[in-house]
């Protein structure tokens, strides 16, 4: 089996803080991390490999420093990694990103399964997975919370929805995006980290592809950011004081006045 995992480098939001003076996000010294959802994608690929044998490719589009992130993926038992990096890829929205990733995937070729994270925590769009599947012309299932079985080229899985779960079946090749519930990612081993340091990351630039420039980067992106702003959260806070009894009474009063309860 050949599995491709799409991995994005994102700013570690643990540290997102607002500068009170300028009201902008403080970005100094924010470490870049593997998009948290993609760590579940990597882990799931590794579990399939351990169960039934597979070769895992890590694929990313991003700035040159994303190589380090791909190295981290290798330390987590991803076999090979490819980075699409070029100024011509920059400024891509989800449509252009999907196109660029599809170029990498065609280079890797002959895949059975593509695994994405549910969404990237910087843009929060959850669009690249389905859009990529559509670009490649393959089936997709989003929000997969469990792979039940892969047998004779058919995958059974659970998808989490607003109403509960759905048990679904799909013929491979297909693309899935995974949620956190699917597994608990492992930490890299010392051996894995050593191996990753020497591993070769394949770098793909525009010139290495036969891409249509009009579909890439800013040019290939139908959506444009017109402006950005920091939302204001001005709220009236009331810390309810008093004895425990008094606090509870006041809170009950608040809830009674705000809650629209059945039969009241």
């Amino acid at each position: 089996m050949k599995i491709i995992v799409c991995i994005k480098q994102v700013p570690g939001t643990n540290e997102v803080k607002l500068d009170p003076a300028t009201n902008t996000i403080i970005r100094d010294n924010i470490a870049s991390i593997i998009n948290p959802f993609d760590t579940y994608a990597i882990e799931e690929a590794v579990r399939i490999k351990e169960k039934m044998g597979a070769e895992i490719y890590g694929l990313s589009m991003g700035i040159p420093s994303s190589q380090e992130m791909l190295r981290e993926a290798i330390s987590l038992k991803v076999d090979k990694a490819m980075l699409l990096t070029d100024r011509k890829f920059a400024g891509a929205d989800t449509l252009a990103t999907s196109y660029a990733l599809s170029l990498g995937i065609q280079k890797i070729g002959d895949y059975d399964l593509i695994i994405c994270g549910k969404q990237a925590i910087d843009g929060d769009t959850a669009q690249v997975g389905p859009s990529l599947a559509k670009t490649l012309g393959i089936a997709y299932i989003t929000d997969v919370s469990k792979i039940i079985e892969i047998k004779d080229n058919i995958m059974h899985c659970l998808k989490i929805t607003d109403d509960g779960y759905e048990e679904l079946k799909v013929k491979l090749p297909a693309l899935i995006s995974v949620v956190k519930e699917i597994n608990m990612p492992r930490l890299p081993s010392i051996k894995g980290m050593k191996h990753a340091r020497q591993a070769k990351i394949e770098i793909v630039t525009f010139a290495d592809t036969d891409a249509n420039e009009n579909k890439l980067g800013l040019k290939g992106s139908p959506t444009k950011v017109r402006k950005t702003f920091v939302p204001t959260h001005e709220i009236n806070s009331e810390i309810i004081e008093g004895t425990t009894e008094e606090k509870v009474n006041r809170l009950a009063e608040v809830l009674n006045s705000k809650a629209i309860r059945k039969g009241m």
């Binding site: 956190k180 800013l218 950005t228 009950a252």
Partner: protein, 391 residues
């Protein structure tokens, strides 16, 4: 391709652009701005510069003839004959957008045995309903629904397509936008019209809600957004309203790539997505057993039970109830956080909530910064008293 340069002679190193850049891609080096590698060429910085020191060249994009497109489509999501509330919210919003554009709102209804829903859609503001009713449309399916929508959009050429940001909507929309090679903005919370340019201004949170971005789709049609449930209010239904119901001929069934074996519905009577009140528990609740206290409060209030990630990771509550960046985004009217510290990743899941109540033993817990009402105290003691009082 587009390019960006700093005109060094004009730059005075004022740092305005540094603050404006959503990607942290500008640095001041030796009193001059420098564009770093992680610039995405979004162009946001250009306006921030008062000294015209940023030279940004946009691409000339091939022009799609956008004047052929008119009207607003709303995907009327339903499940086994019941409309999702967000679809009605979207029709109400579409109605006001359509007024500004001087055009009409069409609801697109796909499914099986759904005839009674058309009247409801008209009562809530749709001018026209396109109905496709066939057994093979009974179950939602990304590919099948996607292909049908693509065909309808090609035939009717709406300028705007709105889809609820439900789990199905967010999975379906990229299929449609990619097929049509148009733009799609995810999970919008504000929609406006730029009348002059006849453009939809789509505003959405990014970076876990720390930043808002307004996005436009200038040269491609339709302009597509998924829209977060509960941000817009549906209109008062008026069953005497008149509208056109257009029953569409049924095409040959679309081939299914993904087959549904079964639904496993939540036995929770109220889902987190629909709940007006959510009682949510954090690690401070102390034990799996104590969760019953919060459950009881949710029950008396007619609400749903949510949880922080720590509680989910401890196995006390299933992941389907996790709220936050790696869980669900919720928008109830009232959110009661019991023993939740209020980490930024948790707060990221709280969207536009009218009233947040926090009960926490630690007066310095960050949750109090976002709470409208706070009680410093032990939730294990307060919850039982509160339930008694409310009962």
């Amino acid at each position: 391709m587009a390019s960006i340069d700093i005109i060094k002679e004009q730059c005075i190193g004022c740092k305005k652009c540094v603050g404006a850049c959503p990607f942290g891609a500008i640095e001041i080096i030796g009193k001059k701005a420098e564009i770093k590698d992680n610039c995405t060429l979004c162009g946001v910085c250009v306006e921030s510069c008062k000294f015209n020191a940023i030279n940004f060249e946009f691409d000339v994009v091939e022009n799609v003839d956008i004047s052929n497109y008119e009207g607003i489509f709303v995907f009327a999501e339903q499940r086994y004959g019941k409309l999702k509330t967000v679809s009605l919210e979207l029709i109400g919003k579409a109605k006001s957008l359509a007024q500004e554009l001087n055009t009409s709102v069409t609801a697109v209804l796909l499914g099986h045995s759904i005839d009674n829903l058309s009247k409801e859609l008209i009562a809530y503001g749709a001018d026209k309903v396109l109905v496709m009713d066939a057994p093979w449309l009974n179950d939602f399916n990304d590919h099948v629904y996607g292909e049908v929508m693509v065909k309808l959009i090609k035939d009717y050429k709406p300028e705007i397509v709105l889809i609820g940001a439900t789990s199905n909507g967010r999975s379906l929309a990229p299929h449609i936008s990619s097929s049509l090679r148009t733009g799609l903005t995810a999970d919008c919370t504000v929609l406006d019209i730029d009348k002059e340019e006849r453009l939809l201004l789509q505003t959405r949170p990014a970076f876990g809600g720390n930043l808002m971005a307004t996005i436009v789709c200038e040269n491609h049609r339709p302009q597509m957004s998924t829209v977060r449930p509960k941000v817009f209010k549906p209109l008062e239904p008026d069953y005497s309203r008149e509208g056109i119901i257009n029953i569409l001929p049924i095409p040959t069934p679309v081939e299914r790539f993904v087959e549904k074996i079964k639904n496993i519905d939540n036995n929770e009577t109220i889902s987190l997505a629909d709940a007006d009140i959510i009682v949510s528990v954090g690690k401070g609740i102390g034990s799996a057993k104590n969760i019953q206290l919060a459950k009881d409060l949710a029950d008396v209030l007619g609400g749903a039970l949510g949880a922080s990630r720590s509680v989910v990771d401890s196995g006390w509550i299933p992941y389907s109830q996790q709220i936050g960046q790696t869980g669900k985004t919720v928008a109830p009217k009232i959110y009661i956080a019991c023993g939740i510290s209020g980490a930024i990743q948790h707060i990221a899941g709280l969207a536009d909530i009218e009233t947040i109540v926090a009960i926490n033993i630690d007066p310095d817990a960050p949750i109090f910064k976002v709470a409208h009402y706070g009680i410093v105290g032990d939730c294990r003691e307060i919850l039982p008293m509160l339930i008694k009082k409310i009962k």
